[in-house]
């Protein structure tokens, strides 16, 4: 039992970070907090993958005369692309939030749903008054 905890506690810390980001994405009402939660989730996943590439006693994956063993360079390559994609996604999400604020005047999820519901009700009442049988 103790060996399991000592060997794997770092994975559990990364999973804690992922779950903090996940909780921010689904439980907070402010749209910018959701974007920040997504960013925390993404960097925690990238941290998890990079930790699988480390080898005890290895050096950075740049060729060097005095090195005996190198780290695995493949997770670094894949996660570089992942960081770039996360920047692109964050930029587009922020642009959509700015447009939502211009339309509705608020950034809270509940208030936006209220305004939508009231608009749908008024549309329905207006239609019922004018319908001819």
């Amino acid at each position: 039992m103790i060996e399991i905890i000592i060997g794997k506690y770092n994975y559990w810390i990364y999973i804690t970070l992922m779950m903090i980001g996940f909780y921010a994405m689904i439980a907070k009402g402010n749209l910018i907090k959701k974007i920040i939660g997504m960013n925390i989730f993404q960097t925690a996943v990238i941290l998890f993958y990079i930790s699988t590439g480390k080898v005890w006693g290895g050096t950075a994956p740049i060729l060097w005369d005095k090195a005996v063993i190198y780290d695995n360079p493949i997770p670094h390559v894949l996660m570089l692309t992942a960081i770039v994609v996360s920047v692109g996604t964050t930029a587009v999400a922020i642009a959509i939030v700015i447009r939502i604020y211009k339309e509705y005047g608020t950034m809270e999820e509940d208030a936006i749903l209220e305004i939508e519901r009231k608009q749908a009700e008024e549309l329905r009442k207006g239609n019922t008054g004018q319908r001819e049988i």
Binding site: A60, I62, L80, V84, A91, I94, A95, I98
Partner: protein, 140 residues
């Protein structure tokens, strides 16, 4: 912020060195950490520093909208274009070994440099574009 003399003088001194550092990171991407993407982001941050100190209108005069719009796509075209040029010389798409620039080692090395230049141009232009679009006035 341009009335504050310390900020103005220091940023006037630093901005050329930041751009030079961005080109250094690009050029030494195969000898140490760095490469196209990191150099592009550092180059964009120098332009963002200029806009923060002098204002958006001054910044727009230095990086015209039409020029950054065109530079957005030139980087991707350089990347795809190198791949198509490799097709003309008998290799697969993006097989740099067949380019007529020397033996296999030198041709691959130069192909990698060309690709990194393409990535840097696109990344710098897109980061500057996104910043300018988002930094408008409040009642725009």
């Amino acid at each position: 912020m341009k009335d504050d003399i310390i900020i103005r003088v220091i940023s006037n001194l630093l901005i050329p060195f930041i751009q030079l550092y961005a080109l250094y990171v690009l050029a030494h991407g195969d000898l140490g950490p760095g490469g196209g993407f990191q150099g592009g982001v550092i180059f964009a941050s120098s332009i963002i520093l200029y806009v923060l100190v002098y204002g958006i209108d001054e910044g727009r005069k230095r990086s015209h909208q039409k020029i950054t719009d065109v530079l957005n796509s030139i980087g991707v075209m350089i990347y795809g274009g190198i791949g198509v040029v490799c097709l003309f010389f008998g290799g697969y798409y993006l097989q740099y070994g067949k380019l007529p620039l020397g033996d296999l080692k030198h041709a691959s090395h130069l192909g990698i440099y060309g690709i990194e230049i393409g990535v840097e141009v696109t990344v710098a232009a897109v980061m500057v574009t996104i910043f300018f679009e988002m930094a408008g006035r409040k009642n725009d």
